[in-house]
């Protein structure tokens, strides 16, 4: 079980609501997929006409599934284009590239009870949680807050599951979050996934109610992405300039044009690729440089770090 990229084929696609599309993806070669954990996400490479999007979507398939991955994608009017692409362009039989599943939102296995609060499409990671908890016999409750007209959209994945409550914006149907948080037994872990405003509200209420930060978890997809704004870098020793795309690292761009750069972990930890920065301001994303080293602005780890603005000049 070693690998980085997957080639997937769209086996089924269906609209489960006017703004939600469900995709079932299988291995394009007919083989088995790597198993994944509850809370895992899949990064899809969506090759649009003008640019390539790399969007991450929670897997809603049961943890450990090897026959197919399933995702549900909401069409976001203000999206970078990835969700529009999935809703408008993708059809059954299409082949997509994806990374192996990643996981930044796994359930805490020592929890005595799991309390999940989902906002709309934010339910997706919790659909895989439910299958996991069924295996382990964990105590849990899931509260879904959604629009009234979407209250049954997720029924196919919730059928037969106890401990699920659905709430919407109507008298007697709203979720009383402070009351819910106050009623939980000691040892409960809280997970929230929804619109940013809802996440923030739940996190604030939990803190106000005295929940320890270690027991409160929120899905942040952003940190799964290694890319960012495109920028340019000049390699002073080699005398060449390289454009670093939105979806590639500085190190990848340097390698792409054939300049040799030392590296080892490619994850910002080992420090092997540390390179003198002669000019420009770095957006440091590594775990290696000390705060003082960052302050001096003289070093950069090209495997993960990027330009904060403008152009970087590297001693390479």
């Amino acid at each position: 079980m070693i690998g980085e990229t997957l080639t997937l084929k769209v086996a089924a696609a269906s609209a489960i609501s006017p703004s939600l599309r469900h995709l079932r993806l299988v291995a394009a070669d007919g083989g088995k997929l790597p198993p994944a954990a509850a809370g895992a996400h899949l990064q899809l490479v969506l090759k649009g006409a003008t640019r390539t999007h790399r969007n991450a979507y929670s897997l809603i398939s049961r943890p450990g599934a090897r026959d197919a991955y399933e995702i549900i994608v909401r069409r976001v009017p203000s999206s970078r284009g990835g969700s529009a692409f999935i809703h408008e362009q993708i059809k059954v039989g299409d082949v997509l590239e994806a990374g192996w599943p990643g996981n930044l939102f796994a359930p805490v296995r020592t929890a005595r009870r799991h309390l999940m609060i989902a906002g709309g499409i934010g339910i997706t990671p919790f659909l895989s949680y439910l299958a996991d908890f069924a295996f382990g016999g964990a105590d849990y409750a899931l509260h879904l807050c959604c629009r009234e007209d979407e209250q049954h959209v997720f029924d196919p994945w919730l059928a037969g599951k106890s401990g699920v409550s659905v709430h919407w914006d109507a008298d007697g149907r709203r979720l009383d979050i402070p009351a819910l948080l106050a009623a939980q037994p000691v040892g409960t872990h809280l997970y929230v996934c929804g619109p940013a405003a809802m996440n923030d509200e739940v996190l604030e209420l939990a803190a106000a109610a005295g929940w320890p930060a270690s027991h409160v978890h929120c899905e942040h997809f952003g940190s799964a992405l290694s890319g960012g704004e495109a920028f340019r870098a000049f390699l002073a020793k080699s005398g060449v300039e390289v454009s670093v795309g939105e979806d590639e690292s500085l190190l990848e761009a340097i390698e792409r044009i054939g300049v040799k750069a030392p590296c080892l972990c490619r994850g910002g930890a080992c420090g092997v690729c540390v390179t003198p920065l002669l000019d420009g301001e770095a957006d440091h994303r590594d775990h290696y440089l000390s705060a003082a080293e960052r302050e001096t602005g003289r070093l950069i780890l090209p495997c993960v770090s990027r330009a904060r603005s403008g152009r970087l000049v590297l001693d390479l």
Partner: protein, 358 residues
Amino acid sequence: MSIAFKPEETFRGDYSYRNSDAAVLRFPFPFPEDRYMYSVNIEPHVRSGPSDVFLRPFDVDEHYIAECRDKAITLERDPGRCQVLPHMMMAQWDTLELLMENLSADYPEQFSLIKEGDDFGSRWTWINRPLGIEQSFIFGNAETLPCEPFEYITRQAQGDFAICDQRDDNLFMDAGMVTSQADWSLEFDVGMSFMEWHGPVPLAHQTGVFERALKYLLMLRLGQPVRRLNWTMSINPRLDTSPESYPEWGPDRASVTPENAGQKVHLRVELQTLWRLPRSNAILFPIRCYLASLEDLARVPKWGARLHRVLSSLPPQLVEYKGLTRYLPAALEWLAQHDDGRELPVGTEAGVSTLAPR
């Protein structure tokens, strides 16, 4: 690939363990340079490297049967060498699946796995020919195995295994099968966080090695295992150098002389790999131990000379921490005859394809 197992060799008592020439040549020698210091020497665990032990993710070699037997002896005497906290059941199945899938794919002559399905609830049949085992069971149902899944599969694998649960931006050693350890205790460490179980290591904390390593491991990706080599030394080819059994092996350190050091003193190299587990999101940490005597190693001229230089220049804190103080002078005296002072190429490769006769 057929493997000429040596089922009768022992890692205690008469210590009849020996390396074949091929085993010496594939030894994962850990010193690329003449001096050694801690670093975050982590790299992707790909199917290649300077030694053949890297060709397969879980290496099986000529010592497989004998090592599994030695593990069984240690467990019989001290069942506490295998411990799993209750929340780790998903990770137990992950480990069983990872090992069975890799071993059966990489060593089809020795191991087979027949599945009626991939999901929990499917019937699987595992065949381990070197150990004469055939077991049908239900994947996901521990009642259908003779013992819990982690113990079941790691009894049939060379080396030690720990499973680290990931939570609260930290790793916790919440399961282990530890019978061939370099003087650390699972009984003591089980449940500890990453910084806690690394607490006794000298020098490395000050350089921030552990902070960086932890942050890196928290981001370890499924499908992208990593590896590093660690090392120490042992007197006699003994796998069970645990604190619990110290009275059985500790006094051997006083038995080393410049005359017998070549046979008695062994370099003990751990191939440590780290795997993100798919269902539990835990990290599996296999620690595969390789032993070679100074005499074995000196048959590769580059290794004999380099080991002499590394050990001569080792910081005193590391000499003490690794437990070498008592016998290092004798080992150095023995090794000196194999070091003519010539410049050695950087890298760990043997640089020869055959060994001089013993």
